[in-house]
Amino acid sequence: MTIFRTENLTKKFGGLVAVSNLNIKIEKGQIIGLIGPNGAGKTTAFNMITGVYKPTEGNVVFGENKVTGMKPHKITERGIARTFQNIRLFKELSVLDNVLIANHMRLKSNVFSSIIRTPDYVRKEKAIKEKSINLLRELGLEDVKDEKSFSLPYGKQRRLEIARALATDPQLLLLDEPAAGMNPQESHELMVFIREIRDKFDLTILLIEHHMKVIMGVCESIYVLDYGVTIANGTPGEIQNNQKVIEAYLGVE
């Protein structure tokens, strides 16, 4: 079952075509890779999918519906969550609060009942707190739940970003270079971890990565961007031997 696809998704910044005619198709439960050299347009593609940028042309289809041009919070509500390439945690807030905030939209309590703490609100708040602590436990962050998020070591910050995205109850998870700044050993562990959360949370994952090697083992299929253009699409094996991809990565004209 196709859960997600983009149709000729294009973004122009003035004269620069950052992404051109991107057609991604993802089946439920897959882990798909999106790779490409610096400035290839990977993050821009994410930003269009999540509503941060309005596409110049094309469509984003999630499930049965077009979500093109919707506000980011609406798209998250529909079930697409993301992490950021340059970590964007709520720095001054505790690890637990970071995750709790991601539950706010599903709380469905108005501000008055939240302030006077109606039994209904108290019950929901308790449920959300329990759910969040469980989530942190599963991601190995429970022991730091009361620390301010900026005080976490880098790897845990990355993991908290993933935890926070998972807290929105997504069906599709977009990860923007989750392994950035990690050594090969850590990157490998992360990939194993990503596969684990896919199974545990019944997710579909679209994963940006800079280095091909890192995602070879986890992705069923890979899309390669270069200067906004999709230059290849196929299984890791096919991509690895694709002449165009090799040239793009080696910088051959």
Partner: protein
């Protein structure tokens, strides 16, 4: 949790007892300063919610105070006083004979200020940072100018006089206490966390499913409503208001209290409001001549503001994020502190 609830109730009772004592022991002049501090608590918390907790750089507080002050005054003044006050041009008939009880006028002041906040917020809250500051400042001045020119409603530049002095220690500090409790509950709730998330990172908050505009608006409207209530209390305390009172300087005073106390700290704002209001009054002695027996210091008008600014500078130099930062004084911290002191004492005794 249970212990804290008990402590809260005890603290509130102790506070009410203190009000009783202050009410009978303070002379009218000191009582007035104490009441003014209570109003600054309300104004400061409103501004802190918007600027400190939600991270919106808004400088329009004085305008919303003005709206609240005028609403409160017009709804409580007697028809006779209104007739006497509006001697240039008579007051519009709709308002001429209206006179409501003080609590209703206070609520109305908050509602009107909040409603105008909503109207102004709709375009303005799409802006960010400095642009938002300039726009809110501009709207605050526009409110003032509109008030100056609505002769038949506001009596123009002459302002309103003879506003009934309902605002005693009970009203002011009662409302103030209610606002503190309200703020604590709001900030503790899921909404409070979302406000902070918007302050920390708007893009991330939006990606977490937070409707940014709606929550900014909520925070802004509540802040404006609190400014309105504070304004109405102020009008009632000083008895006379005019548009000049609500210049930018007033916003600046409140902002100063909030920054000194700590952006994003409720207890910080409360402490700072009381300390700053009282200190400014006590520094008044600097303005008048002093005779220390062996030396006579001539009074220099304005010296107190110089000294006050110096103190401010020193505080900001050493505590860049205000006295409290974004921390709160909680029972846990108080007990921690007590235990640490106790430990120190026993250690000293044993050595």
């Amino acid at each position: 949790m249970k212990r804290n609830n008990k402590l809260n109730i005890i603290a509130i009772l102790a506070f009410i007892a203190t009000l009783f004592i202050l009410n009978v022991t303070l002379d009218p002049y000191r009582l007035r300063i104490f009441n003014l501090a209570g109003i600054y608590v309300i104004l400061g918390l409103g501004l802190n919610l918007v600027n400190g907790f939600t991270g919106l750089f808004s400088l329009g507080h004085a305008g919303f105070m003005a709206i609240g002050a005028y609403t409160g005054a017009l709804l409580t003044m007697s028809p006779e006083t209104k007739e006497m006050t509006f001697f240039l041009e008579p007051i519009t008939p709709i308002l001429a004979n209206i006179q409501l009880p003080f609590p209703i006028a206070l609520v109305a002041a908050g509602l009107v200020a909040g409603a105008i906040g909503f109207l102004i917020g709709a375009p303005v809250l799409r802006l960010k940072d400095d642009y938002l500051a300039i726009a809110t400042l501009g709207f605050s001045e526009i409110i003032r100018i509109v008030l100056t020119n609505m002769q038949t409603i506001t009596n123009g530049a002459l302002g309103l006089k003879g506003i009934p002095g309902n605002a005693n220690i009970w009203w002011i500090w009662g409302v103030s206490l209610a606002v503190v409790v309200f703020m604590v509950l709001l900030i503790k709730s899921s909404y409070g966390k979302v406000f902070k998330a918007i302050r920390e990172d708007e893009i991330a908050a939006e990606a977490m499913g937070v409707n940014i505009f709606k929550h900014k608006m909520m925070s802004f409207v509540i802040g404006c409503a609190l400014a309105g209530v504070g304004g109405a209390l102020l009008g009632s305390l000083i008895g006379a208001i005019n548009p000049l009172l609500f210049r930018f300087l007033f916003t600046f005073n409140v902002l100063l209290i909030v920054v000194l106390g700590g952006m994003g700290s409720i207890t910080g704002t409360v402490l700072s409001a009381v300390v700053v209001t009282v200190m400014i009054e006590y520094l008044r002695v600097l303005d008048i001549e002093m005779n220390l027996g062996f030396i006579r210091i001539p009074g220099v008008p304005g010296l107190r503001m110089v000294v006050f600014s110096l103190i401010l500078l020193i505080v900001i130099l050493f505590y860049q994020r205000g006295i409290m930062g974004s921390n709160e004084i909680t029972w846990e911290k108080l007990f921690d502190f007590k235990n640490r002191i106790a430990k120190k004492i026993t250690r000293r005794k044993s050595s």
